[in-house]
């Protein structure tokens, strides 16, 4: 009997069952593949780091420090071994290829390593350990190739100071420490002979760089000792370096959120469908009760159907999750060695979880069976419930078209009925808007403030070595260069400021806490030009601003006096402000300008920022940037938006890719929900439609009425999503930004794309699908009025 009822129901409600099935398939596919991806990637990372032989603590150090990492390791407790390799930084942006354009050029400087100096194992794209690199060949990480458009087999020219060499890209490189997208500096692995050629560059010292692995039982001790190392640019434990792979997991993370939303939508729809089915089958239920079938038995009839749907959907979803999950993992497996062992089991567990959730909701939703009585069957359901709805609005003499009035009145009179739809549409559009907002913010010039940089109109990235300023008399050289640029701008008749930021490593102490952090110091720019979360900009050399993360780590606040040890000596400074910065994961302090006299110990320099002070309009700024490109043909000149994209290159691209993937998925979900709802409305309102036709309503009017209702709900959902996109975006992505160092998020939306184009596409697709579904009212004959229950 169960089988008969199941088959009959599956046939009768084909569309509804198909839509529920699709939701189950999509939910299972997304959740199984994304959970598998997240767990496999995070699990594989530990194995990859072990296999590569990465130390417990990693430090990046420039040459010439007064206290080296090796010295610090010698003083630290629990150190078992210290491994160090020498690398050479390429001259700023001197990585060239026929395929590389101004747009695909990376903002970060790459470095060259030689295999014979290695302190870690490297792997090629097929996970084979690289044991030999031929002269004239190089290996480089996949993300650099992907972002720059360079392919395996292409030729690239690398330059260090006055030495240039051309290499053939042999294969992509799996590099545990420098392989993630988040790590700015990529490594070109070359042969010993080629490396020796670069060692002949003049000058060489500014380009030398050391990576040190320290194996230790006491990470805290080495962390403490390393604070004294003034040439350390960046250091951290394995955990921190594993965290840099977060961007490799971002697609899976977003898909996990989407799959949770899909499961919520699936159960909400399931609830609606079960309620609808039960209200349609009150007579059958009443008769079954009349002949003595128990509530439990009747409920199990329906549960069998949803169990069958859930099992079948889960099986299909699970089968699809393997290729889909494989596709997601493929992206990550270009960067790390994957451990695929747990995949199938994990995906099966996820699928079983979805089936369990669906069954639970089916069980809860079929509770309504208990409320039907045999009397319902005898009275054909006419117990007054049929006319139980109450109208909210009154037509009266309102100057409104009847179909519009009917549509609005229906929504207001039966809000519960439309709530499912509103929620589904809202969730889908919200996900899209949040992703688009984050993506456009990550490409916006306003993000300069989040990077703790002063606002500017244009940026000049010197193609010739910026490291030339990182020498004893670098300050004079930099001042001269700034003066040259300003003169060139003045000659064009433009009033403008030109400024640069220097980066150095400093030690800060307060109340027994001591930390090492990058210090930012502007050249040609006042601290007041930066954005602060609280307080006022430093006014003199005895005042500093600190990132809120540093303030937390020091347990210090505005007004506290901290000790700052720079290469120039120790100074007591009062904290006058806190700020946020996504540079160095939020770790930095801002010094009052003019404190660093010798640039030899700098760990880096940012690019030349230009701010026009004669108030040009947007078009004029773009024209000027065009002229700047002609004035500085050897350098890369960008506007502020382009510079932000260039600085954090790739992340917004990934988000755009995810959005492009999600847009059709969300449209599909909205269409499925809208069609399912419209189908059920049409079935329920067959009598009303027949009556309207009988009294002279045309098919067109009835179709418009049906379409308008869902169109209005969709528009409300879009409006609601637009109104809440900002707070929801903060809620959903705030954690990620906080991890990166920014806690005060202000999205810079691309209004046209986020709030007009994308919602319009979703709205149009959904309304069109409802319209096409509503066309079936033409099949309702007005003479059915007396035969409709």
């Amino acid at each position: 009997m169960f089988f008969d009822i199941l088959m009959r129901d599956l046939k009768r409600k084909k569309t509804m069952n198909l839509i529920i099935l699709l939701f189950v398939v999509l939910s299972v596919m997304f959740i199984a593949s994304s959970v598998n991806n997240l767990l496999t990637v995070s699990g594989s990372l530990e194995g990859f780091f072990d296999k590569a032989g990465v130390g417990d603590y990693i430090a990046f150090e420039r040459s010439g420090g007064s206290v080296t990492v090796k010295d610090a390791a010698a003083r630290a407790k629990g150190v078992q071994s210290v491994r160090q390799e020498e690398c050479i930084f390429l001259s700023h942006h001197e990585f060239e290829s026929g395929r590389l354009t101004q747009e695909t050029q990376s903002a970060n400087t790459s470095l060259v390593s030689c295999l014979s100096h290695k302190i870690q194992n490297y792997y090629d794209s097929r996970d084979n350990e690289i044991t030999e690199v031929a002269d004239g060949e190089t290996y480089v990480r996949h993300s650099l190739l992907e972002n720059s458009g360079v392919r395996v087999g292409d030729r690239v020219t690398l330059t260090v100071s006055n030495v240039s060499r051309t290499f053939v890209v042999k294969d992509s490189l799996k590099d545990a420490v420098l392989g993630s997208r988040m790590m700015g500096n990529a490594r070109f692995l070359i042969s010993e002979n080629d490396y020796k050629a670069f060692e002949k560059a003049e000058p060489l010292e500014p380009y030398l760089f050391y990576i040190t692995f320290i194996d230790t039982d006491d990470v805290a001790s080495i962390q403490k000792e390393i604070m004294a190392c003034d040439a350390v640019a960046f250091s951290g434990d394995r955990e921190m370096f594993r965290f840099t792979y977060i961007m490799e997991m971002i697609v899976a993370g977003i898909l996990l959120i989407v799959s949770v939303c899909l499961i919520i939508i699936a159960v909400v729809i399931l609830r609606f469908t079960i309620s609808f089915t039960l209200s349609e089958e009150y007579r059958q239920i009443g008769i079954m009760k009349a002949i003595g079938i128990t509530n439990g038995k009747i409920r199990s009839l329906y549960l069998v159907k949803y169990l069958a749907l859930a099992l079948f959907g889960a099986a299909v979803g699970l089968a699809l999750s393997f290729p889909f999950g494989g596709m997601l993992l493929n992206v990550v497996s270009e960067s790390i060695i994957m451990d695929h062992a747990s995949g199938a089991l994990l995906e099966t567990v996820c699928s079983a979880g979805v089936v369990g959730i669906i069954l639970l909701f089916s069980f809860l939703s079929t509770r309504r069976v208990r409320t039907y009585t045999p009397v319902d069957a005898i009275h054909s359901g006419e117990t007054g419930e049929r006319y139980g709805k109450k109208g909210i609005l009154r037509l009266g003499q309102k100057p409104v078209r009847p179909v519009l009035f009917m549509a609005v009145n229906d929504i207001l009179s039966s809000p519960k009925r439309f709530l499912t739809m509103l929620l589904t549409f809202f969730v889908g559009v919200s996900i899209l808007m949040i992703l688009l907002n984050v993506s456009s913010t990550l490409q916006s010039g306003k993000l300069l403030a989040w990077l703790n940089m002063a606002d500017c109109h244009a940026v000049i990235c010197e193609k010739s070595a910026i490291e030339k300023y990182m020498v004893e008399d670098g300050r004079e050289k930099l001042d001269r260069r700034i003066a040259d640029i300003k003169r060139a701008l003045r000659e064009k008749g433009w009033e403008a400021d030109c400024f640069v930021e220097t980066l150095s490593g400093v030690q800060v102490s307060f109340g027994g806490n001591t930390i090492r952090t990058p210090a930012v110091e502007g050249v040609g720019v006042s601290p007041a030009e930066y954005a602060y979360l609280e307080g006022t900009a430093p006014q003199n050399k005895r005042e500093i601003a600190v990132s809120y993360i540093i303030a937390d780590r020091l347990n210090a606040g505005i007004g506290d006096t901290v000790s700052v040890i720079t290469a120039e000596g120790k100074t007591d400074c009062m904290i006058t402000a806190t700020y946020q910065s996504m540079m160095s994961m939020g770790d930095s302090i801002r010094l009052y300008p003019g404190q660093t006299h010798s640039f030899r110990t700098l760990t880096g320099l940012n690019d030349f920022q230009i701010r026009f002070t004669d108030s040009p309009d947007a078009a004029d700024i773009e024209r000027r940037i065009g002229s700047l490109r002609e004035m500085f043909p050897n350098d890369k000149v960008m506007n502020a938006d382009g510079y932000v994209d260039y600085m954090i290159g790739g992340i917004s691209g990934i988000l755009d890719g995810v959005t492009a993937l999600l847009l059709p998925v969300i449209i599909l979900i909205d269409i499925l929900v809208a069609v399912l709802m419209e189908k059920s409305f049409l079935a329920k309102e067959r009598g009303e439609i027949a009556m309207l036709k009988a009294i002279g309503f045309s098919n067109r009017s009835i179709i418009v009425w049906q379409t308008l209702r869902i169109g209005i709900v969709m528009t409300l959902a879009v409006g609601l999503a637009a109104a809440l996109a900002d707070p929801l975006g903060r809620l959903a992505t705030g954690g990620l930004f906080v991890m990166m160092g920014a806690k005060n998020i202000i999205f810079d939306a691309d209004v046209l794309r986020t709030y007009v184009f994308c919602p319009a596409v979703v709205l149009a697709a959904t309304v069109c699908s409802v319209f096409l579904t509503a066309l079936s009212v033409r099949k309702v004959n007005s003479n059915e009025i007396n035969s409709v229950e």
């Binding site: 109208g391 009154r394 003499q397 009847p402 009294i695 002279g696 309503f697 007396n786």
Partner: protein, 251 residues
């Protein structure tokens, strides 16, 4: 009187499970303006199908139906809808109304949908209220349809059918779901509407209802088997005469 409805050789065939079911077979008759015609016959004889077909609610297989001189069999669905909205009124056995609207709004709805007459929304509202007053249900104007009795609801349906000043009202078992008292009230209103000049064609199996009509068509197996014209003004005599005739017809 000129014929408002002229039906010639009307055929209606349904095909179910490859079996042909001829519900109406070459039916011909006409209804004059101002007439009140009842269609009677046993269950399954095709009474309701005849009503729906001649009113354009259902398509026909063959034949011609002229309403006010226009052949509705050649009309497009949109044109037919316009004719039903502006020139016909309908009353059904089930008092179907939109459940989210008040009684008054349900009555008003066809008027607001109609573009004929060029009345303002205010005038249309006044017309709806006037009809409700006339049929004695103005006190339920703002009620929801679940708050009124079956008789009141059927009178509201009559108001709805009258709102656009139709030339003809089609009623399918208008008293079928009502008790005797409500049934009498509804028929009284229909007779009054007819007395005001509106043509009425109704389907019923109740001789007491049919006796109020000036002419009765008797249909069996999709064919009109006979026609009975009423004479006299005494209700009891009319009913008795009709019952005798129906007995002769085998009803």
């Amino acid at each position: 009187m000129a014929a408002i409805l002229e039906v010639k050789d009307l055929c209606k065939t349904y095909i179910t499970n490859k079996r042909q079911n001829n519900v109406l077979r070459n039916v011909s008759f006409s209804v004059d303006e101002g007439e009140m015609v009842a269609v009677m016959g046993p269950s399954g004889s095709g009474k309701s199908t005849l009503l729906y077909t001649v009113s354009g609610m259902d398509g026909m297989t063959a034949g011609e139906v002229e309403f006010v001189g226009r052949d509705i069999s050649r009309m497009k669905p949109r044109e037919l809808a316009r004719v039903r909205l502006n020139e016909m009124g309908f009353i059904f056995q089930q008092m179907y109304m939109l459940k989210n609207l008040s009684v008054l709004d349900n009555i008003l709805l066809p008027a607001r949908q109609s573009k004929a007459g060029r009345l303002s929304p205010k005038q249309k509202l006044e017309r709806a209220k006037e009809l409700m007053r006339r049929l004695g249900i103005i006190e339920i104007a703002d009620n929801d349809i679940n708050e009124v009795s079956g008789g009141q609801l059927q009178r509201a349906c009559i108001c709805r059918s009258m709102i656009n000043h139709p030339k003809m009202i089609f009623a399918d078992e208008p008293t079928g779901a009502l008790n005797r008292a409500s049934s009498d009230e509804v028929m009284k209103e229909l007779c009054a509407i007819n007395a005001d000049g509106t043509t009425v064609m109704l389907v019923t199996h109740d001789a007491k209802v049919a006796a109020k009509c000036s002419r009765v068509l008797y249909i069996v197996d999709g064919n009109i088997q006979g026609e009975f014209r009423q004479s006299g003004s005494d209700d009891r005599q009319r009913e008795r005469a009709l019952n005798n005739w129906l007995l002769e017809m085998g009803f």
